[in-house]
């Protein structure tokens, strides 16, 4: 695919990536983000003082600094006068921050931008923010139903079992694969291989999902440096540059008839034709349309495995196989390292847990390392096109396609 876009513009380039390892330390999230940012700047060979735009992903559970993440990180790295933006789209926050930086560069208002996201997460179930808010769907679902995120994941998993005959053993096979992948990732929180027996002994949280089927809440930080093609070409090491072929940040189309967090009900399909593509299918579709690539071009993918079962849904949503075929694709070995299209070579959320505003950025860090051939023991052979996909509650889709 040509890197020139329809309007004659060159694709924006990923110059550098940086991560703070995922874990549970309870330190200030700004420290994780600053570590990741400095690593990304060093990797890019760009000084912080040369950065002319900063886009950050917000965190909701760390007070005001988390709501103004752009200025929080600009201050931490040292005020230098540049404009910033603070982006929130739940789990898709990182992708929205990436898109803010990309658009800024494409518009000519910036040459080189830093994108950063970091979080310090509480232990256990994510709950809504404190206070009584009967008008807030996120508060309502917890108060009236006790519908946690894993409750929704389990509803999707059960639906998959009933529609396609998926089994708990299929879900366990996803965990086994991703835990093996994650063992080779120094940034992963859990670097332990899981066996089928260990998974079967894990406590049931929301039937059919066990504790180890569900991603943990984690601390972590990730950052990337993006630049215009023109700026990138002035730097020495252009062989390591990876281009952003597409970013999709779509929202659902009405009527959204697939039950979505945090709602207690779907839209009604009376009075409006259902959209041709369901919301989850539309996320990668938009990125394929923009990039000119199709599912057959994808060398490796990072999908948002909030649960093991959800990874199987994503195979279908991003077009790796037809609906109902994900289990067969998994068991064929195609999505394992060494297979046709490895999925979650990083180890995925199964090995990381979820650091909300960092997660979509971390996906792009992994894909960039893969495209460069710098992923070490988890390297996907001859990786040329990488796709990340993710969904944030309240209707945020995110998909990034990178290419070398």
């Amino acid at each position: 695919m040509a890197s020139k876009r329809a309007n004659g513009q060159e694709d924006v380039v990923v110059l550098g990536t940086g991560m703070h390892p995922w874990g549970k330390w309870g330190r200030n999230f700004v420290e994780y983000g600053a570590v990741a940012a400095r690593a990304a700047l060093q990797d890019a060979g760009v000084a912080w003082t040369d950065i002319d735009y900063l886009a950050a992903g917000n965190t909701m559970r760390n007070g005001y600094p988390g709501y103004v993440s752009g200025s929080t990180f600009a201050q931490a790295l040292g005020w230098q006068g540049i404009p910033v933006s603070s982006n929130f789209a739940a789990c898709a926050s990182g992708a929205v921050a990436l898109e803010a930086a990309r658009v800024r560069i494409q518009s000519g208002k910036a040459d080189v931008a830093l994108v950063v996201g970091a979080d310090t997460a509480p232990k256990g179930f994510f709950g809504p923010l404190p206070g009584d808010r009967p008008e807030d769907p996120d508060w309502l679902r917890f108060h009236l139903l006790g519908a946690t995120n894993p409750t929704y994941f389990a509803l999707y998993a059960r639906r998959r079992m009933e529609l396609y005959g998926a089994t708990e053993k299929d879900f366990a096979a996803v965990k086994i694969k991703n835990s093996r992948h994650g063992m080779a990732n120094p940034f992963a929180r859990y670097r332990k291989e899981f066996t089928a027996d260990e998974i079967a002994e894990s406590p049931m949280v929301a039937d059919p999902l066990r504790l180890v089927d569900i991603c943990a809440t984690s601390d972590g930080g990730a950052a990337v440096v993006l630049a215009s093609a023109e700026y990138a070409q002035r730097l020495a090491d252009t062989a390591r540059h990876v281009r952003i072929a597409a970013i999709s940040t779509v929202t659902p189309r009405y009527p959204n008839t697939y039950l979505d967090m945090p709602d207690m009900a779907t839209d009604s399909a009376v009075g409006a034709a259902a959209p041709e593509l369901g919301f989850r299918d539309s996320i990668a579709h938009a990125a394929y349309e923009e990039s000119g690539f199709g599912p057959e071009d994808v060398s490796c993918a990072e999908v948002y495995d909030l649960s093991t079962a959800l990874e199987l849904d994503w195979y279908e949503n991003i077009g790796l196989c037809q609906p109902g075929e994900a289990e067969a694709l998994l068991h064929s070995g195609a999505t394992t390292l060494g297979g046709r299209v490895p999925v979650n070579a990083s180890g995925g959320l199964a090995s990381f847990g979820e650091a909300i505003p960092a997660q979509a950025i971390a996906q792009v860090c992994e894909l960039t390392m893969q495209m460069r051939g710098e992923a070490g023991a988890r390297q996907v052979e001859n990786a040329r096109v990488g796709l990340s996909v993710n969904q944030g509650l309240f209707g945020h889709g995110s998909c990034v396609i990178v290419a070398r």
């Binding site: 179930f125 809504p128 917890f142 509803l155 949280v205 929301a206 039937d207 039950l259 009900a265 839209d267």
Partner: protein, 145 residues
């Protein structure tokens, strides 16, 4: 003395004398869409100019779309109790409204007996108790099981 039963939150459902529940939603007379909860005064269909949603009561039965259970106590604002009893959660599709609605499953439902497509009906059961009242919520109950 039996405590009075009142909805945990006003405006979401109503209890009939026979213990069944009526969900209170919004209905757009212009495009026919229903909404639950009513949430806003206007229609959210982008192709519809409906400016007013009528109050409506949704269908009381539907087909099971999916189901699960909560085996650990959810965090606040879910009412916290000393001894947590695991309970089921169901998503049920209403045929007339063509929408899926979440609810807890009736007490004592064994989810091992459920299957997608089962007919479900709405009832009212306690969510939690205060000293003065039993605070209730709508729940889905399997018909014929």
């Amino acid at each position: 003395m039996t405590l009075p039963r009142v909805p945990a939150l006003e405006g979401f459902f109503r209890e009939e004398p026979d213990g069944s529940a009526r969900l209170l939603g919004g209905h757009c007379a212009q495009c026919g869409a229903s909404f639950f909860p009513k949430q806003f005064s206007f229609c959210r269909n982008p192709a519809c100019e409906g400016a007013i949603l009528d109050d409506t009561e949704l269908s009381t039965t539907g087909k099971l779309w999916s189901f699960t259970d909560n085996q650990f106590t959810p965090p606040p604002p879910y009412p916290q109790v000393e001894i947590f009893v695991p309970y089921g959660v169901a998503a049920v599709e209403l045929a007339a409204e063509r929408m899926v609605i979440l609810g807890q499953l009736a007490e004592g439902t064994n989810i091992a007996n459920l299957a997608v497509g089962d007919t479900m009906t709405l009832i009212v059961e306690p969510l939690y108790e205060t000293r003065e009242e039993i605070r209730t919520v709508w729940k889905w109950k399997a018909v014929d099981k």
